[in-house]
Amino acid sequence: MLTVEGLRSRYGRIEALHGIDLHIDSGEIVTIVGANGAGKTTLLRCLSGLQPVSGGEIIFRGESIAATPAHKRLGRGLAQSPEGRQIFTNLTVEENLRLGAFLFTDDRVDQDMENAFQMFPILREKRNLAAGGLSGGQQQMLAIARALMGRPSCLLLDEPSMGLAPILVQQIFDVVRSMRDLKVTVLLVEQNAFGALSVADRGYVMETGRITMEGSAGELLADPRVREAYLGI
C-alpha cells in the first residue's frame, strides 16, 4: 500500500529525517512511537505532501507520490488528521466537515456527515458554530472526522488522542480498530504508546530522524527498551 524508502527531509539546513524506510500493507494498522522531536510529525507531513522531501521515495499504491502536490494526494486516497488540528477556525463545524469531502459532490457526502455526527455527537450540537470556538478536544474530534470525510484508503493520524478525555481516547482507538473492517489502512503516530500498540498490527520506533526498531505490536509491547523508554513501565 505505502512504501517509504530512504526518505530524507530538512528544515533549512537542518535535516530532520535521515533516511526513513517503512512499509504498510493494505488494511494494516501501523503505529510509530518516538520521543518529542523524533521526527514523527515531519514524516507524516512528508507523506501528505505538506513538507518537501529532499531524498528518497514514497510509493503509494504502486505509484511514486514524492512529487505529487499535497492537494492531489487526498484524491489518491491519502488523508491526514494533522498535528495541531488545523481546522478552519472561521468556518462552521459543518462547513469544516463539508470541506473534508471537498472532492465529492455525490449523495454519500450527507451520509458520511451523518456518520461523523454519530461518531462525535457534540459536533452535531455545534454544527452551526464557528469551529474556532470549540474546546481543544472538540477540535481534535473535528479534525479526525474531517479526515474521514475524505474517504481515505489510507489514513494518517498524528496524535489523535491528544487532548481527549479518557472516555474518548478509548473511542478513538475503537475508531482506529474499526478502520480494519472498512479496509482502511492506518498509520498512527501516538504518544500514548500503550494504546497505540494495543490496536496496531505492527509498529516502528523512531529516534532523532531514524527508525531504530520495528516489529509486530506484540513484540514491541514486550520489548524492555520500548517499555522503559516509551511506556514508562
Binding site: L50, I87, F88, T89, L99, G132, L134
Partner: protein, 290 residues
C-alpha cells in the same frame, strides 16, 4: 428639502463607485488575507482598455468585454508571476508585492496608452433623470445596478457554493485546505481573475462619470479600501454597505458641513465606527481559543 435629495443621489452614485471597488477587494482578501493594493489598477485598466478599444472602432459592449477579459488575464498573471512564487512569504511582503505591481501596471499603462484623461459615452445617454426635485445621470443607475449585482453574485458565491467555501478555507488555513484536497494555487488564480474582472467591470461602469487616466487607480483603491474596512473586510455585505455609507457621508458633509473637510469627516466617522466595532460593521470576529 430638495438639496437633501440631491445630496443623497450624489452620495449613492459615489458610494456605488466605492462599493464596486470595495467588492473587488473581497475575493483576493478572502482567499489570502492580502489586501491587494493593485485593485485600483484593475479599475483603471478596465476603463483605459475600453477607451482605447472603443476609439479603435469596436462597439462599446465588445470593448468592455475585451477590457474585462484582458484585466482578468492581468490578474492571473499577477498571481502566477508574483504572488505564487512568493508563496509562504509574510502577508506584509505580499502587500508590498501588490504595491509594486500597482506601480508597475501604472507604468506600463502610461507607456502603452498615454497620460491623458479619457472618457467614453455613457451607456444610455446623458439626459438627467429627475427624482423629486433632484436629478441623477442614467450612468449612475448603471453603476448602482452593477454594484448591487456584483454584491448578490459574491454573496451567493461565498455562502452557497463549495468553491466559495474553498476560497474562505484557503485563507483561513492554507495547510488544512491542501489536506482536504483544495488546489490552493488554483483558488488563488481564480480569486485574482475574479477580483480583476470585478475591478475592470467597475472601471467600465464608472469611466463615463469619473473619467479615467493611468493614475486614477490610487485614489479609488484608497477609498475602496476604507469602504471595505468600514463594512468589514472580506464580507460582500460590508463592501456594499461600507461603500454606500462612505459615499453618502462625503456627499452629505460636502452639502451640509464643508466640502473642504468632507474626506476628513468621512474618516472621522470610520474611526468612530471602528472604535465601537473593531471589525467593521459586518466583519466577523475571528474566534481563536487559547
Amino acid at each position: 428639502m430638495p438639496e437633501l435629495m440631491q445630496f443623497l443621489l450624489s452620495g449613492v452614485t459615489v458610494g456605488a463607485v466605492y462599493a464596486l471597488v470595495a467588492l473587488g477587494f473581497t475575493i483576493i482578501y478572502n482567499a489570502s488575507d492580502v489586501v491587494n493594493f493593485a485593485q485600483g489598477e484593475f479599475v483603471m485598466l478596465g476603463g483605459m482598455i475600453t477607451v482605447f478599444a472603443f476609439e479603435a472602432g469596436l462597439p462599446l459592449p465588445l470593448a468592455a468585454l475585451i477590457a474585462i477579459a484582458a484585466t482578468a488575464a492581468v490578474g492571473v498573471a499577477l498571481n502566477k508571476l508574483a504572488i505564487e512564487p512568493a508563496r509562504g512569504a509574510p502577508v506584509v511582503s505580499l502587500i508590498i508585492i501588490t504595491i509594486g505591481a500597482s506601480i508597475f501596471i501604472r507604468g506600463v499603462t502610461q507607456l502603452v496608452f498615454d497620460k491623458q484623461l479619457h472618457r467614453f459615452p455613457a451607456f444610455t445617454g446623458d439626459e438627467p433623470i429627475r427624482i423629486l426635485a433632484a436629478t441623477i445621470l442614467p450612468q449612475s443607475l448603471w453603476v448602482i445596478a452593477g454594484a448591487v449585482l456584483v454584491f448578490i453574485a459574491l454573496w451567493l458565491f461565498f455562502t452557497r457554493t463549495l468553491t466559495g467555501k474553498a476560497v474562505l478555507a484557503t485563507s483561513n488555513n492554507r495547510v488544512a485546505a491542501q489536506l482536504v484536497g483544495i488546489n490552493t494555487n488554483w483558488v488563488m488564480t481564480l480569486s485574482f481573475a475574479l477580483s480583476a474582472a470585478i475591478g475592470a467591470l467597475a472601471g467600465v461602469l464608472v469611466t463615463p462619470i469619473t473619467l479615467t487616466s493611468y493614475d486614477l487607480g490610487i485614489a479609488l483603491a484608497l477609498k475602496g479600501f476604507a469602504a471595505a474596512m468600514l463594512g468589514g473586510m472580506g464580507n460582500p455585505k460590508g463592501a456594499l454597505v461600507g461603500g454606500l455609507l462612505l459615499g453618502l457621508l462625503e456627499a452629505l458633509t460636502a452639502g451640509f458641513i464643508s466640502s473642504q473637510y468632507k474626506d476628513a469627516v468621512a474618516f472621522v466617522v470610520i474611526l468612530a465606527v471602528l472604535f465601537a466595532m473593531p471589525q467593521g460593521l459586518f466583519g466577523r470576529n475571528a474566534v481563536n481559543r487559547v
